[in-house]
Symmetry: C2
Subunit: 421 residues, 2 copies
């Protein structure tokens, strides 16, 4: 039973294998937005009013969808814009058994100037490519997806997003759509883009969070896939979320490990502003991306970039709001629920907020941790008449200015609308 | 900013809320196998031969499927056995975005006596109920699912499983099928049962495993959902599996944490037989279920129970094979890849095998850990002419005896076939 000498695959062999693989790839069609074909819906629907309760269901879609099929053998087929309708999936489709699925969440905004805008669409397109490959689905040039998203909103948003200062939710997604019950890398996939009507949303009263306990599960973990937007990060959290809602909370505050690291709030990134216990300095803090636990949120990234530009001690951009706000240190560092409780009890906690595309910048009013209830200060008024912490209120205003075209900014990408023609 | 006293929800309030919830539940229909309706396929397919290469795809299904719809409002509708066909899912269906899906893997066996058997179907039915609620899908009485599985195989297996000593793969699954893009507990679901043709499978040469590195991800983690059969445990492993296959390995050996805890092999449970370093005693070892990482596999459980009954020092059942095998200690304990490497290098490793429904008991021939290649002994012959370790060979024989009716055993549940009538 002595171990035999076993040849190990050498680097050069691996390199050759990778080269062959790349060679194979080049013979397949790449995702190409310029090949998009249009088949318009001949039975278009009417647009529900902004206050129509149907919007609360978040299930009403527009007249069209955009789909692109991919096969391992042939690569990407020509993208099709076509009437919205069911996906024809067999019961053996990989995506409904093995969570071979990834998605993006973004919004199209109708500006105060009547123009249609996307917010940093290149970041969503890039992330969707990373999420897709993380879940063993194909890669693609992100700029081609970005072009497809633009083409889709150019057609449907002229009709479906008529009112200034409103948005529509966009959902690009990719699923392993082939019949393939074997547990293996999918050989067939469908990328699609749909748009969903949301109710106008603001959270004037602040969110109430329930801090997770160990028996509720763990949202993400070191070297896992919490950093990516794959379906597998969401379903496993819904049982705990349902329990929280039955108890009167809006979301779970996800803690990690026995030390209670604060990671995310529901499916949103989580920020606090506090006076640091040791330095006494005012800090805007959120968990770092380093160990693949935290989603690299587009709103998270934008909050950090705006804060560094406008709120930090070495800020270079001037802003009206800054006159009322003390400058802060911008910190991406881990902290625990115990740090948070202590800060609140010692009066060092200035505010807390969640942020993400769906719920935007949402101030947090209350956190329940085991038997401790933490009231979080919300001392400022927001422009929509709600309350928030002063930093969340300022950041929310700045982002809205960009999204709705009150200021011209490179992050607000204007889309030329074509409508159905 | 001093914290206010905040009322905490008391136990009695929670109890009342739970009671109300249960009260609501009783007004909804429960899953009821006796309500099953039959609509037979009028365009039945022909059964491919055992050696037809189409079976290698693992996508060929039988003439029928069984479906049951559930809604939050009305509960479970009447189950329907009907012609196999596509699922009509909208692009907003929760199951293709948020991995709200759970499944089971089991087989129906055609015995040497011509009888049709299931293997411990009550265990799959019970686990599917646990997996379903873990992923925020509805619960049901497991015995009703078991009855539905039996009813389904009673109809389709008469035709689709004609040959003695063969099996067909069964896939019960449940998905959140309603249009619901909001990230929340699903309000609509579909449970379905299908059967898939497999090629005759044995692994006479032994599996070659690649031990996972941190950059390949983590299959499961403490207090996560690795213990359950939810889609979210599978998709995230396929990228690493694909890499392993390109490098000539069959599966990943999933390690956990910096200490390199050995958890599972691919989607199968992992066993070793070794001489314990400290006690010198011969042990059959597999990772324990305690911290929710390891799948409570039906084959895993059966291997442990058979080993305790027939191989342990205090074994009570007699077997022919035991005459050639030294008795072992049966141990459910964590061990690391370093323990495994050391045992192999010191000649203490007797054998290793993976087990699960799909791949049955699969001996392991080789493990690659970073730059170390470990040859694993396979000193015995199996009854199908392959090689394995002596314990895996014996266990494989014992399980097959039960599955194919060579011995009568309570684990082999005979199904009365009805066919299409």
């Amino acid at each position: 039973m002595a171990p035999a000498a076993v040849p190990v695959v050498t680097t050069s062999e691996l390199t050759i294998s990778a080269m062959k693989h790349d060679l194979n790839k080049t013979t397949k069609s790449q995702l190409d937005a310029s090949k998009l074909t249009y088949t318009f819906n001949k039975s278009p629907n009417t647009v529900p009013a902004l206050n129509d309760p149907i919007r609360l269901e978040q299930n009403s879609t527009t007249d069209h969808m955009l789909t692109v099929k991919w096969t391992e053998k042939g690569g990407w087929e020509a993208p099709q814009l076509r009437p919205y309708g069911p996906l024809n999936l067999m019961p053996t489709a990989s995506c409904i058994h093995y969570a071979t699925q990834a998605f993006e969440g973004m919004k199209a905004y109708r500006g105060v100037d009547g123009k249609l805008r996307l917010f940093r669409p290149e970041l969503n397109s890039r992330r969707m490519n990373l999420s897709s490959t993380r879940i063993a689905l194909p890669s693609f040039p992100p700029e081609e997806l970005e072009e497809l998203i633009k083409a889709f909103v150019a057609v449907d948003c002229a009709k479906w997003l008529p009112d200034p200062n409103t948005f529509i939710y966009l959902r690009p997604a990719i699923i392993a759509s082939g019949a393939a019950l074997g547990v293996q890398k999918p050989r067939e996939a469908t990328l699609f883009i749909i748009a969903v009507l949301f109710p106008p949303m603001d959270s004037p009263t602040g969110l109430r969070l329930l801090a997770s306990k160990e028996d509720m599960g763990t949202r993400a973990w070191p070297n896992g896939h919490g950093w990516s937007k794959v379906g597998a990060n969401y379903g496993p959290t819904l049982q705990a979320q349902g329990e929280a809602r039955e108890r009167g909370f809006d979301q779970i505050l996800w803690l990690l490990g026995s030390e209670g690291r604060v990671t995310e709030a529901g499916a949103s990134n989580f920020f606090i502003v506090w006076k640091n216990k040791h330095s006494g300095r005012l800090q805007l803090v959120t968990a770092p991306l380093g160990d693949k636990i935290i989603l690299d949120g587009v709103t998270r990234r934008s909050v950090l970039e705006l804060a560094r530009a406008r709120l930090a001690h070495n800020a270079t951009e001037a802003c009206t709001e800054i006159q009322h706000l003390e400058r802060v240190e911008i910190v991406e560092e881990n902290f625990t629920i115990h740090d948070l409780v202590e800060a609140q009890q010692e009066g060092r906690l200035v505010e807390a907020f969640a942020c993400g595309t769906a719920f935007f910048v949402a101030p947090i009013a209350f956190i329940q941790y085991v038997d401790q209830g933490l009231e979080i200060p919300m001392t400022a008024k927001t422009e929509d008449g709600g309350k928030a912490g002063p930093y969340a209120a300022a950041i929310k205003t700045w982002l809205k200015e960009i999204m709705y075209g009150r200021v011209q900014h490179p992050w607000g990408v204007v889309i030329k609308e074509t409508g159905v023609n």
